[in-house]
């Protein structure tokens, strides 16, 4: 179907959100909590856009609003500029000096307000880490409490029994605020220490022991490169083309 974004006709699929359709077309709408690989959380609200419906203008979150035939969308306006400004201020106060937010502030020429007292840490509570852990990890972290005391942590704040050290949470975090300490021996994340599993053939690190086991179930540790080599050898043998 066709929708209109900023006066341009944009092609969209029936189950698309405005944000997805816009991104595909190269139209920029800012967002911090959106990631196509996980369930959306709709929490940062930076992606707000204006739509025209029944002669009135509404502000909606483009990461959540599904497209309809003939939908008219505006991504820039005075109202949106003001909202984005305040939202960035609020995000900055949660993650002071954070590069991801600073770059957005520069793009939209937003100056941080001193009156907004900064919070400790750099978490903007977008919820992506929790979703990533659900999908790719072991559901070891979650949001606890509610309201202004809400935070992300493991149960009781101690090392989680089922955490596999995959660090998907850190990878998805838009403000890079999850501490991952990687050394020669292993990794420390969310107060838990892990040992590296190393490839039995070449010695390369394939991930933490628990992560490797969880994703392959193999007792033998072989890295992807060596695994590929083994497979090509097998093919070569089968097809009689060994060098």
């Amino acid at each position: 179907m066709n929708i209109i974004i900023d006066g341009r006709q944009v092609w969209a699929k029936p189950e698309d959100t405005i944000l997805l359709a816009a991104r595909r077309e190269g139209i920029y709408i800012p967002s911090l909590c959106f990631n196509q690989a996980t369930e959306p959380t709709h929490s940062c609200r930076l992606c707000m856009v204006e739509i025209q419906e029944k002669g009135r203008t509404f502000m909606v979150a483009s990461c959540a609003y599904k497209v309809k035939e003939g939908l008219v969308v505006t991504t820039e306006s005075e109202t949106l500029r003001k909202v984005r400004n305040t939202l960035l201020q609020l995000l900055y106060a949660q993650a002071p000096e954070n590069p991801a937010i600073v770059s957005l502030m520069e793009r939209y020429q937003v100056v941080p307000k001193e009156k907004l007292a900064p919070k400790e840490g750099q978490c903007i509570l977008c919820g992506l880490c929790v979703e990533a852990c659900k999908k790719l990890g072991a559901s070891s972290i979650s949001t606890i409490h509610r309201g202004v005391t809400k935070e992300v942590n493991t149960p009781y704040g101690i090392q989680a029994k089922n955490c596999i050290g995959c660090a998907s949470c850190a990878g998805f975090c838009p403000t890079h605020c999850i501490t991952v300490e990687d050394t020669e021996e292993g990794r420390t994340i969310w107060n838990k220490k892990f040992k590296w599993a190393r490839c039995e053939v070449c010695g390369a690190i394939v991930g933490t022991e628990q992560h490797y086991k969880a994703s392959t179930g193999d007792t033998q540790v072989v890295c992807p490169d060596c695994r590929r080599k083994t497979m090509t050898d097998v093919f070569a043998d089968t097809l009689g083309e060994r060098y």
Binding site: R45, T86, L90
Partner: protein, 591 residues
């Protein structure tokens, strides 16, 4: 002629010992064979006038007694065939003792539809409900088509009584139009608005009216499974509702082939977990699904995709309580009352700084002045009216200049407030509007689910700013920042809690900006409420040197010699106000 004795056993009167009154009546009646009563002393639901409980009503004389204690029982029994006990009757504004509710200025203007049985029947007895005309509405509904049932609700014009004010008929019709094998019919009993207790009273006092409304709704939309989400804190309501469900099942009003039709429907109760946000429909549904009560975006409405992703209708307790009436007497009868945009009656909880507090059910369109002064009896202790808060934490304040505003959904919204669940909190000159805004923002900052930035962070900073202003550390630019945060929360929040969170701040700023400025510029709290900005001093001329204040001071901040004026030491004083309350000569002054 045989008499009937009704004793109120709603939460309020029970707290005041009405069970002991019941016990005393039963004991005395057992001894006295000379008195004729129709049945055992009847335990009825909340009469909505809790401050004056325990309340006892005598039928058929329609005599109502207030603040009854077990000691009064003997006298009441003696008076049954004689003149009523004067001192237990209500005294109207002219000082006259009145017998019946029709003469009581609190009850007289009321027109009970949602509360039609509450306080008159025993909520644990389904037979009484049936005798009072219960389940006729359901019978009528089952004999008509789904479309005809919805038509009646549409004609009645009833709008959601929980806060949203969405036309109920429209909601039901849009769900009927969605074809699905599984649909859910839900009741919202998570009354979380502080200051509101009408749903509690209805669930405690007339649970079958809610149940009947739910079953009718389920029939109308085509649902065979329902849930009643009831606040965990409402123990008595939970108990009565469960009893009602069990009894209704036994009578064939619930279950398979209801009243011999081919309509099946059953329901169960789900207890809330203590979260105000779970009154929001999508959060409520998440809670029923066994998850945290976080709202979801509702661009696709719940009537299309709601509980467990199925078409769902959620209605408030009071809304459902009106449905059997509409299906018994017709939608037109209901529509005869109220205003053009808001039909029918509404139960308001009139509380705060007002002489008569309690539940008031009146047709929509009554003015605030009538509510506060006629029904409420005005402001106690001769203090001046300041404002009224409607709609709870999602609403705003209405100042004196708007006292003649006819109350309905649209007028309130126009003035920067909203109906909400019907809480009307009356405030006088001793209420600080800045402190009130801070109170509501603090409430919401704890109750917000915390998922989205504008609500969670907006509230966090607004609370900071308001606290600073109340401590005398505010600056004028703070007001601009407050407005900016408030507007952002209104425009960008994910759910209605966030979108309405700023209303208390915006409306107090709008109508009482001067009070904010006085806190900031003069560092003064005109209402005398903000602790950091007030001082307690002893007026030398009035002080008799009795020393009572010093005795009651928790921090020993008052010193002096007997028979000579005492002094309050400001550096030790924590401004608790105990001294002012205890001083028999009114010698303590707040500035």
């Amino acid at each position: 002629m045989s008499k009937e004795i009704l004793v109120c056993c709603g939460t309020g009167c029970l707290a005041k010992g009405s069970q002991f009154v019941v016990d005393e009546f039963r004991e005395k009646l057992g001894e006295r064979k000379d008195i004729r009563v129709i049945s055992d002393v009847k335990k009825v639901g909340c009469n909505g006038f809790c401050e004056n409980g325990p309340i006892v009503t005598i039928l058929p004389d329609h005599i109502t007694y207030y603040k009854v204690s077990p000691k009064d029982v003997e006298e009441i029994l003696d008076s049954l065939e004689d003149t009523p006990v004067e001192r237990l009757l209500y005294q109207d504004d002219q000082g006259k003792r009145v017998r019946s509710r029709e003469e009581n200025p609190f009850y007289a203007p009321q027109h009970k539809i949602a509360l039609r049985h509450t306080g008159m029947i025993d909520p644990g007895n389904i037979e009484e409900y049936i005798k009072a005309g219960g389940y006729i509405g359901l019978q009528n509904a089952l004999e008509a088509s789904q479309d005809a049932v919805i038509r009646q609700v549409e004609i009645s014009g009833i709008r959601g009584r929980g806060g949203g004010g969405f036309p109920t008929g429209k909601k039901w019709r849009s769900c009927l139009e969605v074809s699905s094998d599984m649909k859910y019919m839900l009741c919202n009993g998570d009354e979380g608005d502080p200051g509101a207790f009408m749903d509690r009273s209805i669930m405690e006092g007339d649970p079958h009216s809610v149940l009947e409304g739910l079953i009718i709704g389920a029939y109308a939309i085509g649902s065979r499974q329902g849930y009643l989400y009831i606040r965990d804190e409402y123990g008595l309501a939970l108990h009565h509702m469960q009893r009602a469900i069990d009894d209704a099942r036994k009578k064939g009003f619930l279950g398979k082939n209801i009243l011999g039709s081919d309509f099946d429907f059953d329901c169960e109760i789900v207890r809330g977990g203590g979260a105000f946000v779970c009154g929001e429909s999508s959060a409520l549904m998440a809670s029923i699904e066994g998850k945290v009560g976080e709202p979801r975006v509702k661009y696709i409405r719940s009537v299309v995709k709601g509980l467990f992703d199925q078409p769902t209708v959620l209605n408030n307790v009071e809304t459902l309580a009106n449905i059997p009436y509409i299906l018994t007497h017709g939608g037109e009868t209901f529509a005869k009352m109220g205003t053009k945009g808001s039909k029918g009656t509404k139960v308001f909880s009139l509380v705060g700084k007002v002489n008569r507090t309690g539940l008031v059910e009146v047709p929509m369109g009554i003015t605030l002045r009538e509510l506060v002064y006629q029904i409420g009896g005005g402001i106690p202790a001769g203090k001046a009216f300041k404002a009224v808060q409607t709609g709870g934490p999602s609403g705003g304040c209405i100042p004196e200049s708007l006292l003649d505003l006819p109350i309905d959904f649209d007028t309130l919204k126009e003035k920067g407030s909203m109906m909400g669940s019907g809480g009307i909190i009356v405030m006088d000159e001793t209420t600080c509007m800045v402190d009130l805004a801070r109170y509501y923002v603090k409430f919401l900052s704890e109750e917000s689910c915390g998922k989205c930035t504008p609500c969670r962070e907006g509230l966090r900073h607004m609370l900071d700013i308001l606290a600073r202003i109340c401590e005398g550390k505010g600056e004028l630019e703070d007001l601009d920042l407050l407005e900016e945060l408030a507007i952002t929360a209104t425009q960008a929040s994910l759910c209605e809690l966030g979108r309405t969170a700023a209303n208390p701040v915006l409306s107090t700023l709008h109508y009482f900006r001067d009070e904010y400025e006085e806190h900031i510029v003069q560092k003064r709290c005109p209402a005398g409420a903000c602790k950091e900005l007030i001082r307690f001093t002893i007026l030398e001329e009035a002080c008799k040197g009795c020393g009572i204040c010093a005795k009651h001071c928790p921090t020993s901040a008052i010193t002096g010699e007997l028979k000579k004026p005492y002094t309050i030491h400001q550096d030790v004083c924590i401004r608790c106000g105990n001294c002012k309350v205890k001083c028999p000569f009114g010698a303590i002054h707040v500035e």
